[in-house]
């Protein structure tokens, strides 16, 4: 027996339910946005804002309901996801309310105050979160809907192209209008397609990982196994061409490559994915004018402000980009303080696509870093959930959802800060927009469900009927 081995042992640690920690953090996560709300009111008017009680109670109530449902129906779930999402949502509401107060924005014809709507959408989001936890007792039931969800996600993605239903808003056709509401189906498609990817890859991963030839240090898959990645690639390119939406297509393709990599452990998929997306992006940007103007605004915003033709799309894109960069610059390290910045100069979409610029200006680099860390922590908890999940479907599903969340944060934050060309996506939880906040609450709900299953201690053995004590009759 005295053999020197170097094996790794994996055993379970008993996970306590962390609900009280979650409650403590939730209280904290409600208090911070209330503080911010008061701060905005004091800075703008010099007095406590009238709505502070209603806002604080509303947010507290939503968080409380969510917490009680988690306590009852997902006892062992991760203690951090709910507080982190609540904090981001609460701060997003304050940011939107703060921009609602701006006289500059109110003077514009295309601007309407959003804070009340956003609070309603957050409530709907929490309702969906609660619904997910109540209805979905086990995430593995989703496995049955692998191919249905593929069809559903394709329909969702194509809906904006249906004439009469789709709406073209400033070049990007990613909205549909139903009875006065505009919905962004892509936000929901992101969750549905993750179900398909994880169900599909769970079954096919051996074929994708093992049947391959080695060529120049890379494992090349067989031609017929290339089918799915080519299909997804073509689909995301079609979205890019017909809906002019760089963000969504990047999100779907990136998510697929991440999940392929996790399922097969082959670096070659990442290399191929990067090459294919780079090739696709170059080809598309060479003939889609919408994308071209974004690229021009990204490469040289200040230069193209002068060279762009009057009243063109390109001029708008460059103008926004310069305003955003000035906003970040004006913020400096510690920011100007809540309500004291001029990020409302961005004008169009200041409270949705460009909301991160307001964070950058009013909270500075310190605030931006804190926000990115909050997002990072949500993603970390998602990946941790994937590591701890015991079933391959749950693993892939959790990694797909957190990967999609991470990609979205990267694409938006990177676009706003000028790292990559800007795409019309929303910062999860922060930006004004119903679809985004509702879909992201559903995403958090699913992650909480998976983490509850993953962290739940193994059930104790069923008592065997033979083992029961025999009654002894005493005299």
């Amino acid at each position: 027996m005295s053999v020197v081995t170097n094996t790794t042992t994996i055993g379970a640690i008993d996970a306590p339910s962390r609900r009280n920690t979650e409650l403590m953090l939730l209280g904290f996560a409600v208090a911070i946005p209330v503080f911010a709300y008061i701060n905005v009111g004091l800075a703008l008017d010099g007095e406590l804002p009238a709505g502070v009680l209603g806002y604080g109670l509303g947010l507290g109530l939503l968080a409380g309901v969510a917490h009680l449902v988690v306590r009852r129906f997902a006892r062992y779930a991760d203690p951090l996801m709910l507080p982190l999402a609540t904090l981001l949502n609460g701060l997003g509401l304050v940011l939107i309310w703060r921009l609602d107060q701006s006289p500059r924005l109110l003077a514009r014809s295309d601007f309407a105050p959003q804070a009340t709507n956003q609070l309603m959408y957050s409530a709907l989001g929490i309702a969906l979160f609660v619904g997910v936890l109540l209805v979905m007792k086990d995430h593995r039931v989703l496995q049955r809907f692998t191919y249905i969800s593929m069809a559903v996600s394709i329909v969702l993605l194509l809906l904006p192209l249906v004439p009469g239903l789709g709406a073209d808003v400033f070049g990007a056709k990613i909205w549909i209008r139903v009875g006065g509401f505009s919905i962004q189906p892509g936000e929901f498609a992101k969750i549905v397609i993750a179900v398909f990817f994880s169900g599909y890859l769970m079954v096919k991963r051996d074929a994708l990982a093992l049947a391959s030839r080695r060529f120049m240090g890379l494992y090349l898959p067989r031609g017929r196994d290339l089918g799915p990645i080519l299909t997804i690639w073509a689909m995301s390119l079609l979205i890019l061409v017909f809906e002019n939406d760089l963000g969504t297509s990047l999100l779907f393709f990136g998510m697929f490559v991440i999940m392929l990599y996790v399922a097969t452990e082959r670096t070659s998929w990442i290399v191929m994915g990067l090459l294919m997306s780079a090739g696709g992006a170059v080809v598309v940007s060479s003939f889609a004018s919408h994308v071209q103007s974004r690229v021009a605004a990204w490469l040289d915003p200040f230069g193209c402000l002068e060279t762009a033709p009057e009243a063109s799309n390109m001029l708008n894109a460059c103008d926004q980009m310069t305003q955003v960069l000035m906003s970040f610059g004006a913020g400096g390290t510690l920011g100007t303080g809540w309500g004291q910045g001029n990020s409302d100069l961005i004008a169009f979409a200041a409270n949705s696509d460009f909301i991160f610029a307001t964070v950058g200006e009013e909270l500075g680099l310190a605030g931006v870093m804190a926000f990115l860390l909050l997002y990072g922590l949500i993603i970390e908890r998602g990946v941790r959930t994937a590591l701890a999940a015991r079933d391959p479907f749950g693993k892939l599903f959790a990694i797909g959802l957190s990967g999609a969340f991470a990609l979205q944060v990267f694409v938006v934050a990177g676009g706003v800060m000028g790292l990559i060309p800007l795409t019309g996506m929303t910062m999860p939880f922060l930006a004004a927009g119903g679809s985004s906040v509702i879909a992201n609450w559903a995403l958090i709900g699913i992650l909480i469900r998976i983490s509850d299953t993953a962290r739940r201690p193994a059930p104790s053995p069923a008592p065997s009927p033979d083992a029961e004590m025999t009654q002894v009759v005493r005299p």
Partner: protein, 170 residues
């Protein structure tokens, strides 16, 4: 509102925001859950229980409470020695261990030759561990013999299920 108050609030807000981040990271630190990875570079046998991490304090206690019937020399863990799950161990704490490709199995086998509910391993009343084939397609082998009835498992005897080999160890 005075300039000073606003400055204090501005810095105060950033401090509170960062405090939240730090508290959240502290929660993660105290929340190491799920799987415990122990690197074993030491000589086994000579030192049956090497230094164990802090979190490890609970399981042995539990084992005593749960059983009390564990004899000396009884196996304490199940080790996968061949197959895709090589290196995985499961502590034996008196519970039934199911093996198969079904996702609710204790050990989910990623093995084309295994059935979805392939076999189970459970302790009988004396604490002797028994392996039972659950009507699998390709059978369960103890050493070289195909199992037909529930059979006690000797310490260290290989149980073969498809391409996976597991054994019980002390």
């Amino acid at each position: 509102m005075s300039e000073l108050t606003l400055t204090v609030m501005r810095l105060g807000f950033l401090a509170v925001l960062w405090l939240f981040v730090i508290v959240a990271v502290q929660v993660i630190r105290s929340d190491l859950f799920g799987t415990r990875v122990t690197q074993r570079g030491s000589r086994r046998g000579a030192d049956a229980r090497p230094q164990q991490p802090r979190q490890n304090a609970a399981p042995p206690q539990q084992r005593q409470q749960a059983g009390g019937r564990q004899r000396r020399g009884a196996p304490t863990k199940l080790v996968v020695s061949e197959g895709t799950l090589t290196g995985t161990t499961v502590a034996l704490q008196g519970q039934t261990i199911t093996l198969g490709r079904a996702h609710d199995s204790t050990i989910v086998l990623d093995d084309d030759y295994a059935s979805s509910r392939h076999a189970r391993i459970y302790p009988d009343r004396d604490g002797q561990w028994i392996v039972e084939d659950l009507g699998s397609t390709n059978g369960t082998y103890l050493d070289r013999t195909r199992l037909t009835t529930p059979t006690p498992i000797p310490l260290g005897a290989p149980i073969r299920i498809g391409k996976t080999v597991i054994e019980l160890r002390k």
